[in-house]
């Protein structure tokens, strides 16, 4: 179906919808972060625009990316913007009532959402988290190169957000290109969609141009000075910008600083700031524009539930920080890794099921893939289970154009309005229908081609007679899915201290190394190369 959508977009000259609702939570006041890095250095920032107000971004610039002090100043600046926002949300809580599995707990009423332009920027956030969370601060007397106190805390939060972003359906940290491509399909390839400017040109073409032309302009259009009209969303900068414009400005700054010339240094720094801002501003505006486009979509039904899980994640980390726990280790131990994998698989299954239930377009894709089928009931035959207490097990036959890809006996599920969980059923048979209209396939809505019989196995109450309304009538429109609507997590994993011998035993025991988890990175005597 994606292929068809892309073809349609090509024909239309603009992007076509890939979703009829918004599947991603959008906060009222997201924090937008647009980072830029220096080419060649691992994680060396050049500058960033960050903030919650689209008209007043905070601009952070590192006029000499190789200078450690200036770099830490950048991180401190970033912390001074982000940490207060995090603190604000951390204190605004509500109480979650006790459930069967846990007692009454405090849950943050909302959580800050960070939006970056693309997946490369998200990776960069992950990198910054890693590079800063182990740094030693001025509070530590032995630290050779201490950093301002908030920096490692910032690192821990960024790491948490970036790790959470790996969970399907999470919205704490968003890469805008990923969210936009989930909701619109362009007439270019998925690779080209990673370019924010081009992507937006397809979704919302600039005046006078169509999608492809706008995208081409965004990707390669250069002005008379040779610079790209639409600077890359980063974090990497355009090499032409680096070579032609930035390098000379940085050199000027260096020279002025080395000469100790105050006013010249300030002037050179201002120049660098202006240049970096010129590369950041268009992307900054693009991100807000993209958010506006997304906000126009109505929110999907299960989005709030997924956001609640994100809020739990936020609250959990807040509690860990408050409890004084150490920063996240560099590498996961065996049990943590297995837990994360299992959790993400469940989250993925849940996300796909919920999107299909919220959005007819997503359900259409599942139907095309044989994972769901919908049609009209043509017959209902009552039957009962064997045993002491016969329970209703009616056979329902429906005519549907969809062909389910499953064996007889496979489980099916039907969403019943008003019920807490989906009604279960088992697939009995799939037979071709000899409807007249099915052959010529050229018509507008091809007639139903298959007659599918399922046996309902649940959701009918606990008596011999099915509950009112739980069994569909002939002529009713019904839809079944072959995937569960609310996948549950798997079995519990052993505690880390009980990691079995097959996986190396408890962490730290086998290797004897004092947990590479916690030691900060060795610092090199100089950073100037």
């Amino acid at each position: 179906m994606q292929t068809l959508a892309r073809a349609e977009a090509v024909a239309a000259g603009r992007a076509v919808p890939a979703a009829t609702v918004r599947h991603t939570h959008l906060g009222e006041r997201p924090v937008v972060l647009v980072p830029l890095t220096t080419a060649g250095e691992a994680g060396a920032p050049l500058g960033a625009m960050v903030g919650t107000d689209r008209d007043e971004p905070t601009l952070l610039v590192v006029p000499q990316p190789l200078d450690r002090e200036l770099r830490f100043g950048f991180f401190a600046g970033l912390a001074s913007v982000l940490l207060p926002v995090l603190a604000e949300y951390a204190d605004d809580t509500e109480v979650e009532p006790a459930t069967r599995n846990r007692e009454e707990t405090e849950l943050c009423a909302d959580a800050p959402q960070i939006v970056v332009p693309n997946t490369a920027a998200l990776e960069y956030v992950r990198l910054v988290g890693r590079s800063t969370r182990f740094l030693r601060t001025v509070e530590d007397p032995d630290a050779p190169h201490p950093v301002p106190v908030p920096v490692p805390l910032l690192g821990r939060w960024l790491t948490h957000y970036a790790e959470r972003a790996r969970t399907p359906g999470s919205a704490l940290l968003l890469a805008l290109t990923s969210v936009l491509t989930r909701h619109w399909t362009t007439g270019q390839s998925a690779m080209e969609d990673q370019h924010l400017g081009a992507l937006l040109a397809w979704i919302d073409p600039p005046a006078g141009l169509d999608g492809p032309a706008g995208a081409a302009r965004a990707q390669t259009g250069r002005g008379p000075d040779g610079l790209l009209l639409s600077p890359p969303a980063g974090p990497a900068t355009d090499p032409v910008f680096d070579n032609r414009v930035l390098a000379p400005a940085l050199t000027r700054y260096d020279r002025a600083r080395a000469a100790g010339d105050g006013p010249a240094t300030a002037g050179a720094e201002a120049e660098v700031r202006r240049l970096v801002a010129s590369q950041l501003r268009p992307t900054w505006d693009d991100v807000w524009r993209g958010l506006d486009l997304l906000r126009a979509l109505p929110e999907g039904g299960h989005v709030a539930e997924r956001w609640k899980r994100d809020r739990w994640s936020f609250t959990g980390h807040r509690d860990r920080v408050r409890a004084g726990e150490p920063p996240q280790p560099k590498r996961d131990d065996a049990v943590t890794a297995a837990q994360k994998l299992a959790g993400r698989e469940t989250a993925q299954a849940r996300l796909m099921a919920q999107e299909a239930l919220d959005d007819p377009l997503a359900m259409a894709a599942r139907r095309l893939g044989g994972e769901a089928f919908a049609g009209t009931v043509t017959g209902v035959e009552m039957a009962y289970s064997e045993g002491r207490r016969p329970m209703p097990r009616p056979l329902v036959t429906l005519a549907t154009p969809d062909l389910p890809q499953a064996e007889p006996g496979a489980k099916a599920y039907r969403a019943v309005p008003g019920a807490r969980s989906a009604q279960t059923a088992a697939l009995v048979s799939v037979l071709p229908l000899d409807a007249g209209g099915a052959e010529d396939g050229a018509g507008e809505g091809p007639g139903p081609a298959w007659s599918v019989t399922v046996r309902l196995t649940g959701g009918m109450g606990s008596g011999r007679t099915p509950k009112e309304g739980s069994v569909p009538e002939p002529g009713a429109a019904v839809a079944f899915t072959l995937f569960e609507h609310d996948p549950r997590g798997g079995p519990a994993l052993p505690e880390a201290e009980l990691t079995p011998w097959t996986h190396g035993g408890p962490p730290g025991a086998a290797t004897g190394a004092p947990g590479p988890a916690d030691s900060p990175d060795p610092v090199t005597p100089e950073d100037y190369l």
């Binding site: 297995a338 097959t502 190396g504």
Partner: protein, 462 residues
């Protein structure tokens, strides 16, 4: 061709780098290996024993024997298999081999065991491990074992299909036993995750890696054994499968040339289908090559070709004979299988077979054919009709399963143009530090199989 030919004299041993060239005796080699495995399992001091078992090498027989010997030595054990079908099969074999041995079949509440097990009074089925704990052998799927809590660990366990088990699945059950015998086929399909697991690539406990890889990464000194003989694959197939899919751990066929025969009661009519069937009877392989075209994967012509080939196979009244065997046996539909890469291809072939009036032939994907065995298989080549290869289609495990299910002959249906496709395949694969490079390489394996098949090619148009 004729049924009454004498069985061939004991053949010279096949190549593929096995020791003892003169007078190689497959039965003796297999017996030696089995004894060594059992010695390590019963009396060894290591916590684990790993056994690599190529297709048809008698893995299930080994598992049953090891279980019986452990039980006989008074050591209760648990057996972990990966699917309910595998569990039921093992339970059945155990009970058949030893009707006096009490076996517990543990299962989940919504996965009742195969009713056929009820004919064994020695098997008790329950959803509660407490009810079965005192039986010498308790068997269940890994998924069910993962939910077992608060039980005294078993001293012994046997983990079946350990190469197809994912590392995190092993993590969930390893606390239930102290020592284990791990048996599996390294050449078949690897476990995978639909969610990305790259962040743990290179970590010795990568949860998405295969259980054996993780086990050996942490316990490299465990004794590792190989079953050296495939009793299923005929002498015409073992060298190719061994060379292509097990380049560093070769094996050979348990039967020599001429000891497996396929013959047809009805003479060939000279048409393409019959010629490829004759080729397969003669050499154990046949490639039915359709004209080159780019098609979607449920290529109607290829599907029809497969169906017609199967029908013709049945129409010609095939008989199979296996040395030393009684007499030739008829080749019936239940001894034939069709293998595909995708479920929709399997569905299309099933429909085409039904339309052609053919009944009782198994049609399934490689995933679902794992562990099963037939006399003759017909395979729709994973790369047929494709404009390019992808990692999925090049995956060696898939082709290995499809090419190693047969006892007598394997026929492949494929459109021309695949060697060119391989030739033009771009390779800009990422390389993860710390991850051991896995052999065989998908490209090489596919190439080796195609090169071999080219020698048995019959071109045909629908």
């Amino acid at each position: 061709m004729t049924q009454s030919a004498q069985p061939a004299a004991r053949p010279e041993p096949p190549s593929a780098g096995l020791p003892d060239p003169g007078g190689f005796d497959p039965a003796a080699a297999a017996a030696r290996a089995t004894e060594a495995i059992l010695a390590d399992t019963l009396r060894g001091t290591a916590r684990g024993v790993v056994v690599d078992s190529p297709p048809g090498a008698g893995k299930s027989t080994l598992v049953v024997r090891a279980a019986r010997e452990l039980a006989a030595a008074g050591e209760p054990l648990m057996i972990v298999a990966q699917t309910n079908a595998q569990v039921d099969d093992l339970a059945d074999r155990l009970a058949t081999a030893d009707p006096e041995l009490p076996v517990g079949r543990l299962h989940g509440s919504d996965s009742p065991p195969d009713p056929a097990l009820r004919r064994h009074p020695s098997i008790a089925a329950s959803t509660s491990v407490a009810e079965l704990r005192d039986r010498p052998v308790v068997i269940a799927t890994a998924a069910k074992w993962a939910y077992v809590r608060d039980t005294e660990p078993w001293r012994h366990a046997i983990v079946d299909e350990a190469y197809q088990m994912r590392s995190d699945a092993l993590l969930q059950v390893a606390g239930l036993f102290e020592r284990a015998l791990f048996v599996g086929d390294p050449g078949q399909l690897d476990p995978f995750s639909v969610v990305g697991a790259e962040q743990w690539a290179g970590l010795s406990w990568d949860p998405s890696a295969s259980a054996v890889v993780t086990l050996l990464a942490h316990n490299p000194d465990l004794p590792q054994h190989r079953l050296p003989v495939s009793w299923r694959l005929p002498a015409t197939a073992a060298p190719l499968v061994s060379r292509a899919f097990y380049p560093y751990t070769p094996f050979c066929s348990g039967t020599g040339p001429g000891e497996r025969r396929l013959a047809f009661g009805v003479k060939g009519d000279g048409g393409g289908l019959d010629r490829v069937l004759d080729e397969a009877a003669e050499s154990g392989w046949g490639l039915l090559e359709l004209p080159p075209r780019h098609t979607p994967r449920t290529d109607p012509e290829a599907v029809r070709a497969v169906a017609r080939l199967v029908r013709r196979l049945l129409e010609r009244g095939g008989t199979t004979w296996s040395a030393p065997g009684p007499g030739p046996a008829p080749l019936t539909a239940s001894r034939i299988a069709v293998g595909t890469a995708h479920r929709d291809q399997a569905a299309a072939v099933r429909a085409a077979l039904a339309e052609a009036g053919v009944d009782g032939v198994a049609v399934d994907t490689a995933n679902r054919l794992q562990g099963r065995e037939f006399d003759v298989t017909v395979v729709l080549h994973p790369l047929s009709g494709r404009p390019d290869a992808t990692a999925f289609h090049l995956e060696t495990g898939r082709l290995c399963v499809l090419a190693s299910r047969h006892r007598h002959a394997c026929l492949v249906v494929c459109r021309a143009g695949v060697p060119e496709l391989l030739d033009e395949h771009p390779s800009s694969e990422p390389v993860r530090l710390g991850v051991t490079v896995k052999f065989p390489d998908g490209w090489e394996a596919n190439h080796a199989v195609l090169a071999h098949l080219a020698e048995h090619r019959i071109r045909w148009t629908l």
